[in-house]
């Protein structure tokens, strides 16, 4: 495989995040409907992992389990040797929708998780986050005056304010237009480098996954298992036009759907 080898877990160090043998089912009328089966993988520190899979396969459910928002499942999620039982500040979450509080300004939304009172330190932190997500000047705007992309940037800044060890993103750019989406993908890579955080990003967009991820976890259709974990050894910044990029995209697409992309 060409390019840089990802910052892996080849050594004996304990993995940052361990997802062990997750089984999750939703209760149906007659029998339970299994959604996730035998999901096991590790994530190293400062790794960027993308999870792709067909819609309805349970990608979001998997991310919610790691976030601690789903509690009724079998298996274990271990972050830094501590089992995950509930949501926590060391795991930042960005949902599909921005989920901002409409009655708070951008600044207040970002600072929502902080204790009350605005010391100079928090003011500076908020300002630096606004700069980071490219929203300085909008601190006093209300969410209903923001575009989708801007609102999602606020959500990102809010998730980053407590400097989480790991950032969980559920199709964060799914509802954005194509151009904004490409821009946000670049931005998230820049933020990932600057903040030295670990990222798990769920997407159904294979190209997005190949562009962003160190590794891609490909999920199958229901009952969902891990089909393959693909290492993306391409150097960054990646170019979508490169033949190696296209080859990887096609390989994953084949995993995804079982058919060739050669006619593209």
């Amino acid at each position: 495989m060409a390019g840089v080898v990802h910052r892996g877990i080849e050594h004996n160090e304990k993995p940052h995040l361990m997802v062990q043998n997750i089984y999750k089912s939703f209760s149906g009328k007659e029998h339970d409907l299994p959604v996730l089966r035998n999901i096991t993988f590790n994530v190293a520190e400062h790794e960027f992992v993308c999870i792709v899979g067909p819609s309805g396969c349970g990608k979001t459910t998997l991310l919610r389990i790691i976030a601690g928002l789903e509690t009724n499942y079998q298996g274990m999620v271990i972050l830094d040797e501590k089992p995950v039982m509930k949501p926590g500040l060391e795991r930042g979450v960005v949902f599909q929708e921005p989920r901002l509080l409409p009655w708070m300004t951008v600044k207040e939304n970002i600072a929502f998780a902080l204790p009350a009172g605005s010391s100079i330190v928090t003011q500076k932190l908020i300002q630096s986050l606004l700069n980071l997500v490219g929203l300085s000047g909008f601190e006093n705007a209300y969410p209903n005056h923001l575009s989708g992309g801007m609102a999602q940037r606020v959500a990102l800044a809010r998730a980053l304010i407590n400097q989480p060890k790991i950032l969980l993103m559920d199709e964060p750019f799914g509802s954005l237009d194509a151009l904004t989406r490409l821009k946000m993908q670049k931005e998230i890579l820049r933020i990932w480098e600057e903040q030295a955080t670990t990222i798990i990003l769920v997407t159904h967009d294979i190209e997005e996954a190949v562009y962003l991820g160190d590794r891609i976890i490909v999920l199958s259709d229901r009952p969902t298992t891990i089909k393959e974990i693909v290492e993306i050894g391409l150097p960054r910044p990646r170019k979508r036009a490169d033949s190696a990029f296209a080859a990887l995209r096609q390989q994953i697409h084949q995993e995804f759907s079982g058919e060739s992309l050669s006619h593209y």
């Binding site: 976030a67 601690g68 928002l69 509930k86 949501p87 926590g88 500040l89 795991r91 930042g92 979450v93 949902f95 929708e97 989920r99 509080l101 409409p102 009655w103 708070m104 929502f112 998780a113 009350a116 209300y142 969410p143 209903n144 809010r158 998730a159 407590n162």
Partner: protein, 269 residues
């Protein structure tokens, strides 16, 4: 098809007859003219349906003698007192029951049983308990206004967006802060609706209570005028109740606009 659409979209804003003043004033003026025309035609007895002129005259007389303002201020103070009690109780209990499930389970059954009893049905007991003038009336008003306020507050809290609940969980926001910053602001539109409906109920209750007892207030003025066959006075009373009620609702709407200005309303356009 395309040309039709184009024509509609270009012609729509040109209807300048719907100037703001016209939009709101057209129907009242039309009704007034209709009213005048019916009474001037001579087909109806003035005692059954007084003319606008005689109503205006009665209004000026009642204003001059101080009769109108005297009764109005009595009713207004009763409404404000009863509404204040109802707001305090309704918001307080609605929030308490919305936030503490145990309280909800303990109290809800009884409240839902009391709710269908018309407030005015409490009047005999209320008069015995609180006297025939202020006490019993304020009790009836407070009771009538309480339920819409209480139910809307409770519903507002129940309508808290689960997506925002998850945000609070993920950010480990403490319950008190979550309540103050998410639950209560989110339920403000419902609370304001409850207060507006409650105020309307308060007006209905004060008139109903005054109709059936006591010697003061707009309701008493109405019964008194009716027993003397002064229909024009009755109509003055009804119109004043309507106008004052609308004015008070207007004040609440102003407050509402201030508090829930972040909300974008669907205006039907």
């Amino acid at each position: 098809m395309e040309t039709v659409l184009k024509r509609i979209s270009s012609e729509w804003p040109r209807i300048t007859i719907f100037h703001p003043i016209w939009k709101r004033g057209f129907l009242p003026v039309l009704l007034l003219m209709l009213w005048h025309w019916i009474t001037a035609s001579g087909y109806v007895k003035p005692v059954l349906f007084p003319s606008p002129e005689s109503v205006l005259q009665a209004f000026i007389e009642m204003l001059g003698s101080g009769e109108l303002l005297g009764h109005l201020s009595v009713s207004l103070i009763r409404v404000m007192e009863g509404f204040a009690i109802a707001s305090f109780m309704g918001v307080g209990m609605g929030m308490a029951m919305g936030l503490f499930p145990l309280l909800n389970d303990m109290i809800e059954g009884i409240l839902q049983m009391i709710r269908p009893i018309p407030p005015i049905a409490w009047l005999p007991l209320a008069i015995l308990w609180f006297g025939i003038e202020e006490g019993s009336k304020i009790f009836i008003i407070a009771l009538g206004a309480f339920f819409p306020i209480f139910l809307n507050v409770l519903n507002g809290i129940r309508q808290t967006d689960t997506k925002l609940v998850e945000i609070a969980q993920v950010l480990e926001v403490a319950k008190l802060k979550f309540t103050l910053k998410v639950v209560i602001p989110g339920s403000m539109p419902f609370i304001m609706t409850g207060l507006r409906v409650g105020l309307g109920y308060a007006w209905m209750c004060v008139v109903a209570a005054e109709l059936s007892g006591g010697m003061r207030g707009m309701g008493y003025m109405l019964t008194d005028a009716r027993s003397l066959a002064q229909t024009d006075k009755v109509v003055v009373g009804m119109m004043v109740i309507g106008l004052v009620g609308k004015a008070m609702d207007g004040i609440l709407r102003l407050v509402e606009g201030r508090i829930v200005g972040w909300r974008e309303l669907y205006t039907g356009e």
